[in-house]
Symmetry: C2
Subunit: 227 residues, 2 copies
């Protein structure tokens, strides 16, 4: 389904060249449930941005269902992002002038749902992340962990083929984090491909494959045995 | 040093009244090392904002070194914040157009350091949080955990009397988190009062007193025995 071949990413700051990802070879199959781990600054979010078609690599090839992403047109890449990928960013990215409910309804506009159905699906998702009585709040009226849960609800509500979640439980206490992971695992059971970045070994233990990054390279990629 | 008496905080949204903190009684002594824990939405950041003079309570009294904060003038409260409190926000709050180094130098402008000394202190603090080769980066050129470490460096560089850190290791892998906590504990040893919010039991175990919030009330407040 997704194939990264010799992917590299380098940033330039003035005349300094900063290599951030190097020699990344990675195949992700439909239905995979992956945790990406690694130290702060090791390149995890950069890798997620490339997977999510938000950034172009500096070298190498990225095939999304056999289409080479680096070669397709911008608007085709945008369609892919909007219709097929759900993204939870490391710093949430909610629209500040929309309520929790409106934020969660937004992705469904592209997906062809009728308005009444968008509202109902968004309400149910907010109930599922424990925010039934916060639907009318603006992001500035929500706690850190509540904003994160709205972002998760927004990424999942469309049931996209691929969910990319960058530290989805980072701002949550352990019990709320488990409730969110129950939701993510249930979505995985329904056939969705899930790639998470996490620092939390407990979250990683719920996935089926762990990929470790160090200084921009993959140093481990292993299946988790059922337990 | 700090005394909260019957502190309450209520938000109004249209005609809905949302009680967020209630009946908070809390005394914090100079040199205390406190972890505040509790579920997402339980009121931790709101309590920190009141302690840091960023928000006024709806009821009750807050005495900072015997001065009642609710009764002093706005500019006096602002001085207190700038000179005596170091704050790490849950969503970091760096100035986007300043480099890491400039962000860390900023609090020292108020504190009367000469420019050369400000630069050197800021550089050393950034080395201490592991960002020696990222000093010239803008926040947008830093990973999530790197931004968090710049915010921590900025809060500590002035050696304020009181440090309030809202989830200071939330975006960090465990090893980087431990390095940051070594720094925080060293500052505590030098006499600074530290109040952290954390979801991480390992971080809480390094402090000396744990306060638990539930639905806006303190349900536990206990000393940690040395171990
Ligand atoms: N401006 C506001 N208007 C209305 N409600 C608010 C406002 N700010 C915060 N709240 C509500 O106050 C409650 C407590 O928020 P707070 O940010 O203190 O929680 P927290 O314990 O820090 O949670 P987290 O662990 O998720 O960061 C939440 O339920 C939130 O929805
Ligand atoms: N626009 C940029 N210009 C220069 N360097 C950048 C830029 N964006 C990211 N970097 C650098 O790339 C490296 C990897 O960043 P990335 O955000 O992928 O790390 P990460 O593994 O997600 O870290 P964290 O766990 O802290 O979130 C970092 O060292 C960062 O400083
Ligand atoms: Mg990251
Ligand atoms: Mg909070």
């Amino acid at each position: 389904m997704l194939k990264l071949e010799k992917i590299g990413k380098t940033y330039r700051m003035g005349d300094v060249v900063v290599p951030v990802l190097r020699g990344i070879d990675l195949t992700i199959l439909r239905g995979d449930y992956i945790a990406i781990m690694g130290a702060s600054g090791s390149g995890k979010s950069t890798l997620m941005n490339i997977l999510g078609c938000l950034e172009q690599p500096s070298e190498g090839h990225y095939y999304f269902d056999a289409r080479e992403i680096t070669k397709i047109a911008d608007d085709e890449r945008t369609d892919l992002r909007n219709y097929r990928i759900g993204f939870v960013f490391q710093q949430f990215n909610l629209l500040p002038r929309l309520t929790a409910l409106q934020n969660v309804m937004l992705p469904m506009v592209y997906a062809g749902y009728a308005r009444g159905e968008r509202r109902q699906r968004a309400q149910r998702m907010l109930v599922d992340v424990g925010l039934a009585d916060r639907m009318a709040n603006l992001p500035s009226q929500l706690s850190g962990g509540q904003q994160q849960r709205v972002a998760i609800a927004r990424a999942l509500v469309n049931q996209p083929d691929l969910v990319l979640a960058d530290e989805p439980t980072g701002a949550l206490d352990s019990r709320t984090g488990e409730e969110v992971m129950d939701l993510v695992s249930a979505l995985h059971q329904s056939g969705i491909t899930i790639v998470l970045v996490t620092h939390d070994a407990g979250v990683a233990a719920r996935t089926q494959r762990i990929i470790r990054l160090q200084d921009g390279r993959i140093i481990a990629d292993g299946e988790l045995l059922p337990h």
